[in-house]
Amino acid sequence: LVQFTIPIDNGDALKNAEADSQRTLYPYVTGTSIVAIKYKDGVLMASDMGGSYGSTLRYKNIERVKAIGKHSLLGASGEISDFQEILRYLDELVLNDNMWDDGNSLGPKEVHNYLTRVMYNRRNKFNPLWNTLVLGGVKNGESYLGMVSMIGVSFEDNHVATGFGNHLARPILRDEWRADLSFEDGVKLLEKCMRVLLYRDRSAINKLQIAKITEEGVTVSQPYSLKTFWEFQAFHNPTAGAQGSW
């Protein structure tokens, strides 16, 4: 548990209401990994619907992937309230873009760069938005997939993963991702990653959504569960290899 504290000297507490406030940053309700890949027609993004409160799997219906404008999809892991704040920023951005009504529209690249600026500037003020964001989209036939972290590290790639996904999903994607994946193969690949995360990530729950974005638009699947198998011999007698109370 990382506690992030910066004391600020604001003078006399009697006169200044903010005098003894500190910017303590500590995530409370968090989402776990996001895994996303480019495929033949666009981008696929998978996430589970869990919101953990520390070690408690408290919320089980949180949508962590949202459509942004006409051309983009945003997935977030980390603090859920910060994600909601980011959605409010983007809402305003998209609204103003639409109000121009001039045939120009924000593409995924623009949204990704805007978010990079926001995240980096907050980091510089020692007041980060505690998220790792995944931005995917398609515009004018070109697919785009990128990531921004809470400290403003930003890059694009053919496949990305956040949180535990970095450790568990990335190796699978490196081995098995191809540029011309069909939709079915793409979903299979994502499900493979999500299954590993389900088994091994303590904060993952078995209720996931897969979102797809193509030139036509965004579709977010209904929540569903993955089949799991727990009948391995080793699980039947878990202490077989280490008898005794020690």
């Binding site: 121009w100 120009n104 924000l106 690249k109 623009e110 760069n113 600026r117």
Partner: protein, 275 residues
């Protein structure tokens, strides 16, 4: 009759519903030396006449690069024009930095127009005394806009502003229907010919004009004197030859769309080019 009573400051209306200060600002644009813009679907050409104050001085810069995909030509108070160009450059680069994407020219033009409007509604300000021809690209292709001191802006296929711009406009009016699909080279030629119109008889030389081009896949840049002179030579030369033969400016269907016209000074009666 009542003009003088209501023209002292910009926040006073006249009884006939006019703001004279704004109109006077538009006059300032007409006094500046000519600037011309034209566009095709994929390119925009901005050209202007280089008039120096005296033989001893150099001419003022009237065309500015705002970004790789936007350029502006000004007529009127060049100092005001410089300030607005700096504003445009700032807007363009801020957008580029935040979104890593070029600012659509249509949006820049609206920002510019709103900025000009402010000066027509503050008693402690005066309108900008400069007209701007803004050429640039956005998602829907190439665009050319004209921004007035009044805060109005208009989109054009081709336009000319400044002194003797009417002659250029007349030429452009005859030719503009072909601009949409014109090649880059033809567009440049038409721009230079339009500049020639504003010179009204003076011999066209590359030192007298500045020409800039931008387009899809071609960032904004100025054409060098050599290139401009080459284009001038293609029609001036034919003019010389034909004058030698026929002695009259006769528009024959020559192989290259050559400009036939009074190459000599003071030939007011010859109608400018029949293409």
């Amino acid at each position: 009759m009542f003009r003088n009573q209501y023209d002292t400051d910009v926040t006073t209306w006249s009884p006939t519903g006019r703001l004279f200060q704004v109109e006077y600002a538009m006059e300032a644009v007409k006094q500046g030396s000519a600037a011309i813009g034209l566009r095709s679907r994929s390119h925009v050409v901005l050209a202007c006449v280089n008039k120096a104050q005296s033989e001893l001085s150099s001419h003022q810069k009237k065309i500015f690069k705002v970004d790789d995909h936007i350029g502006v030509a000004i007529a009127g108070l060049t100092a005001d024009g410089r300030v607005l160009s700096r504003y445009m450059r700032s807007e363009a680069i801020n957008h580029s930095f935040t979104y890593e994407s070029p600012l659509p020219v249509g949006r820049l033009v609206v920002h510019l127009a709103d900025k000009a409007q402010v000066c027509t509604q503050r008693s402690w300000k005066r309108p900008y005394g400069v007209g701007l021809l803004v050429g640039g690209l956005d998602e829907s292709g190439a665009h050319l806009y004209y921004n007035c001191p009044s805060g109005n802006y208009f989109e054009y296929q081709a336009f000319a502003i400044g002194s003797r711009s009417q002659a250029a406009k007349t030429y452009l009016e005859r030719r503009f229907e072909s601009f949409g699909d014109a090649s880059r080279e033809d567009l440049i030629k038409d721009a230079i010919l339009a500049v020639r119109e504003t010179l009204q008889g003076e011999t066209l030389k590359s030192s007298l004009c500045t020409v800039s081009v931008l387009g899809v896949g071609e960032p904004f840049h100025f054409l060098d004197q050599e290139t401009i002179q080459k284009v001038i030579d293609t029609f001036e030369k034919v003019a010389e030859d034909e004058e030698g033969e026929a002695g009259e400016g006769d528009a024959e269907a020559a192989a290259a769309p050559a400009e036939q016209g009074g190459g000599g000074a003071g030939d007011q009666d010859v109608a400018p080019m029949e293409m």
